[in-house]
Symmetry: C2
DNA sequence: GCGAGGTCGTTGTGTGCGCAATCAGAACGC
DNA sequence: GCGTTCTGATTGCGCACACAACGACCTCGC
């Protein structure tokens, strides 16, 4: 009875299952992956995302505003998140020579090590709980569908 | 460059697209639907969820703890959310005769009217931005896949 | 009865977020 | 050069949440 979903009168059962399923799946995965990462490496999912983008960026550094839009966080939110990670020594702020307003967040060696360990844990979780539940065909189909949805919400490329 | 995703080294492109696609789709839909509801009816998505579950429940009322687990919110979070909705006159607290500890949240006529209007808006949005982007076959397939994922996270029925 | 342990809802506290305002610096017109 | 306007990052503030602790109450064993 707990997980039951209303809206029966206006949504076909198949539609309802597909829609509310996604909401529950997202909530469950976010929580499970976050706890897993926290338990194994004392790292929150949002912090992990920052480190991951930095690690894959040119010279292991990114401008604050690019980082904010990459991880879908407001600029002010990123300021505080980077503050925390800087206090933990996982990244540092570096002034931008081209633009004196700007700042880079740059991975430290400690951050790189932390990420290397965390990434294995995280991706194993994503695989076990999500990717492995789909066939290769389904994954490809899903990728296409997400793009169609993002177009519909006007999130194709920006913001 | 904004929406680019790292993890290239460890995840196949198809996997990456399916995984990060879902994260972005969820974020985009949650934001868009919330803004839509807020603009049209001055109602937040979390408030809408409460009203919706109540409307579809027996006698338009639910126990606080059942409601909390239905909308995936902590008990304390629900206490405050119900506080707000009660102040707005959309629901009322009713004592539970069977169990003196318990309380029901019960829809008021105002809440029922508010929901009737909001539900049309919300479902239209879900349809336009999400459901319409999938074929009937895909929707059915998706529903099955979500169940498999929920099993993998241990959220099959409880919590 | 009645005490131990569990459950329901609320409250205190801390955290993380977005929005709006702010400041410094860049970019542009003239 | 010098104002106007725009942009990047930070800060003040309020909000909504989770967690933990609490009081009230139920339940079960004895």
């Amino acid at each position: 009875m707990i997980g039951d979903a209303p809206e029966l009168s206006l949504l076909a059962p198949t539609e309802l299952r597909a829609w509310r399923g996604m909401l529950r799946v997202h909530a469950a995965l976010a929580k499970a992956l976050d706890q897993q990462l926290e338990a194994a490496h004392g790292l929150q999912l949002s912090s992990y995302e920052v480190l991951m983008y930095l690690a894959d960026a040119e010279d292991e550094r990114m401008r604050m505003c690019d980082l904010a839009s990459s991880i879908l966080l407001s600029r002010s939110g990123l300021t505080r998140l980077v503050d925390r990670l800087q206090r933990e020594g996982l990244l540092e702020r570096v002034a931008c020579s081209d633009d004196a307003r700007g700042a880079f967040a740059k991975l430290t060696p400690a951050g790189r090590d932390k990420l290397r360990a965390a990434r294995a844990t995280h991706l194993a979780g994503v695989r076990a709980m999500f990717l492995d539940r789909f066939s290769p065909d389904e994954l490809a189909q899903l990728g296409d569908a997400w793009d169609r949805v993002l177009d519909a919400t006007g999130w194709g490329c920006c913001k």
